[in-house]
């Protein structure tokens, strides 16, 4: 070690020591400075916090002084360049990971775009629900099915399930509501054509009630066709199924919340009702037996 290095090490050490002493002094309670002061004063206003602060500073002092000991200072100064290159390496890894994630999202968006291109523009109205459902099930549903960990894993799992089921139900109910709207759309088209025909034949009614009756008759006919169709039954069934699943998942979450409130849950009450029912059946049966025995 050269004289300059030794001087540098000595100065660095002294500087570190004086800096630590300064913080330590400020962290220590000061006594008797003010003749009128009857109480101990502290740097942070709390003795406990001062103790914590003091011990933290001591730990830091210990680590840093280790770096600047005469035996270590050489290595510290030489390796300082390596610290920055290590930081750059870490940053590079993080950036690559972010870029990778971004790439995956872009690929997902491309897949979504390709999914919707598969259907023609004419069918976008009724097929949009199938499209959305396919996109959701392939691209987004997986995030709600990631296994949960930790003490609260079951609660989190039930919340994820409830959100997933809600999304599925939203799609179904939207499709169902759209189906109920379709007869109105068709009625408007047919009604317009019929009125046009009547106008061309010179049959113009002055009574708006006639037009209303005509419109409602056409609407009723379209609804009857819709209600008897296989597609309607399938959509209705799907809506019922998804609603039932969502309701159950939602109730599971509510039951978790209810645990903190002193009220019984439906599940607990059902068990009680079942017991009461079975008891009543037993009593009725016994009453019948007793009656038949006493009548004999």
């Amino acid at each position: 070690m050269t004289k300059t290095d030794q001087e540098q090490s000595f100065n660095m050490n002294e500087w570190m020591q004086s800096a630590m002493n300064l913080w330590k002094k400020m962290a220590s309670p000061q006594q008797g400075e003010n003749q009128f002061s009857q109480f101990e004063t502290s740097f942070t206003g709390s003795k406990k916090t001062d103790q914590f602060f003091s011990s933290s500073m001591n730990t830091l002092n210990l680590i840093l002084s280790g770096f600047f000991e005469p035996d270590n200072i050489d290595a510290t100064l030489k390796k300082s360049g390596e610290i920055s290159s290590a930081s750059i390496e870490i940053l590079k890894q993080v950036t690559e990971s972010v870029m990778e994630m971004q790439k995956k999202w872009v690929e997902r968006c491309i897949r979504i775009g390709q999914e919707s291109k598969a259907y023609s523009f004419d069918d976008m109205d009724k097929e949009i629900f199938t499209t959305w459902k396919n996109i959701y099930e392939k691209e987004f549903q997986q995030f709600f099915q990631i296994p949960t960990i930790g003490l609260l894993r079951y609660y989190q799992e039930r919340i994820n399930t409830a959100v997933d089921k809600y999304n599925l139900f939203s799609e179904s109910i939207s499709e169902f509501m759209f189906m109920l709207y379709v007869p109105f759309e068709k009625t408007a088209q047919v009604f317009q054509k019929e009125v046009e025909l009547k106008l061309s034949e010179g049959e113009i009614s002055n009574n708006f009630k006639d037009y209303y009756n005509q419109w409602i008759r056409i609407l009723e006919g379209h609804f009857m066709s819709l209600l008897k169709s296989k597609e309607y039954t399938e959509v209705l069934n799907q809506t019922i199924q998804t609603y039932v699943q969502f309701k159950k998942a939602k109730e599971d979450v509510l039951i978790d919340l209810l645990q903190h409130i002193p009220v019984p849950t439906n599940k607990e009450m059902d068990e009680l009702y079942k017991e009461i029912y079975e008891l009543k059946q037993t009593v009725k049966s016994l009453k019948k037996t007793v009656r038949s025995l006493t009548s004999n």
Partner: protein, 358 residues
């Protein structure tokens, strides 16, 4: 060809007149709607003489009793029995009383979650059996007359097959017994939709969902046209009163106990066991041939809930030689509430029962 001339003046004149008429109607309607309206149902006096759990038995006593056997009326679990006593002049119960027939009517009450385990057997061999025995004991008679409406009629059929010795005569009205038909939307939906799951997640089958389902059977008429008609006539007090009464009745629906609903869907709608005499209650088979008492079976030609094909097979499967099918040109509810059929329906039942009064 020249396009016909659209008389714009006439159209504008019609619009102006319609607006004037609407204004007058709305003004009068506000007076009608804010005035006292007689919209109460079931005004015929009765006495509650029996109670078991949620079930009540109503007793209607005529001024003069002219029948040996009283009539027990069993309504469906859907909607309320008050429909049989809608208003003066449209009351099946009052018609029976005027003829001197004592009437008992079961009030099924409003099931709660507590009742979700109650089965069809509990209704038929439990509540109905106890009530029949109660009436027989009260009158000191071996048999009574039985009348069922819709699902209540199905219960009556089951009871009569299991206990024929206690029934003098059986009347079924708009009663589904054959479910192997696609004529009614309900029959299609109950086979293809999993409504039992829906009922299970609610505890019982919720009345609100059932009401919504019934409205979906004909949304154009039941959700739109009906209220347009109300708007057009809401300045007429009598119309408003009748309309409100029907609204009160139609949306006064109890839930259906889950186990009963489940079994009815499964064994009746899906497996059609009743008409095949393969239905079992508490392990005992319901054999339709055991129905040996006189039977009259009413159904509606335009009934969209219980189409004729679902109701007109019963008389072919029972063991009785005294059977009659009566098809009325009306719908499911019109049989009871239509002013036209008031003279055709209840009086005919009363006469038929009188002929078999022993």
């Amino acid at each position: 060809m020249k396009k016909p001339k659209i008389d714009v003046d006439l159209i504008l004149k019609t619009v102006a007149e319609s607006t004037e008429q609407t204004k007058v109607r709305v003004q009068k309607a506000s007076e009608v709607l804010t005035d006292h309206l007689d919209v109460d149902l079931a005004k015929t006096p009765y006495e509650t003489i029996y109670k078991e759990d949620r079930v009540r038995l109503k007793y209607y006593r005529p001024d003069k009793i002219k029948y040996n056997f009283p009539l027990l009326v069993i309504y469906a679990l859907i909607n309320r029995e008050t429909m049989l006593d809608l208003q003066p002049g449209r009351s099946v119960v009052q018609t029976f009383l005027d003829r001197g027939l004592e009437v008992y009517m079961i009030d099924w009450g409003y099931p709660t979650r507590k009742d979700r385990f109650i089965t069809i057997n509990d209704h038929v061999n439990g509540y109905i059996e106890n009530i029949v025995d109660f009436i027989r004991k009260k009158h000191n008679i071996p048999k009574i007359n039985l009348m069922g409406i819709c699902m209540g009629g199905a219960f009556c059929v089951m009871y009569s097959a299991l206990h024929p010795e206690k029934i003098n005569a059986l009347v079924t009205t708009v009663t589904p017994t054959n479910f192997d038909t696609d004529k009614g939307l309900l029959h299609i939906w109950m086979k293809q939709l999993d409504m039992v799951k829906m009922a299970d997640c609610y505890g019982n089958m919720p009345a609100d969902l059932m009401n919504f389902g019934f409205l979906l059977l004909n949304p154009a008429r039941l959700m739109l046209d009906k209220y347009v008609s109300f708007f057009e006539n809401m300045d007429k007090k009598a119309f408003v009163e009748n309309f409100i009464r029907m609204e009160k009745w139609i949306f006064d629906s109890p839930d259906i106990p889950f186990e009963t609903f489940r079994q009815f869907i499964s064994d009746c709608y899906q497996k059609n066991l009743l008409i095949k005499s393969e239905l079992k209650l508490d392990g005992k088979p319901v054999i339709l041939k055991n129905i040996t008492m006189p039977l009259i079976n009413f159904y509606g030609k335009f009934d969209h809930l219980v189409p004729p094909e679902a109701a007109n097979q019963l008389t072919k499967h029972v063991g009785s030689s005294d059977t009659e099918d009566v098809c009325l040109a009306t719908g499911h509810i019109g049989i009871y509430v239509s002013s036209k059929f008031q003279k055709e329906f209840a009086p005919r039942i009363a006469t038929w029962l009188k002929e078999r009064d022993g």
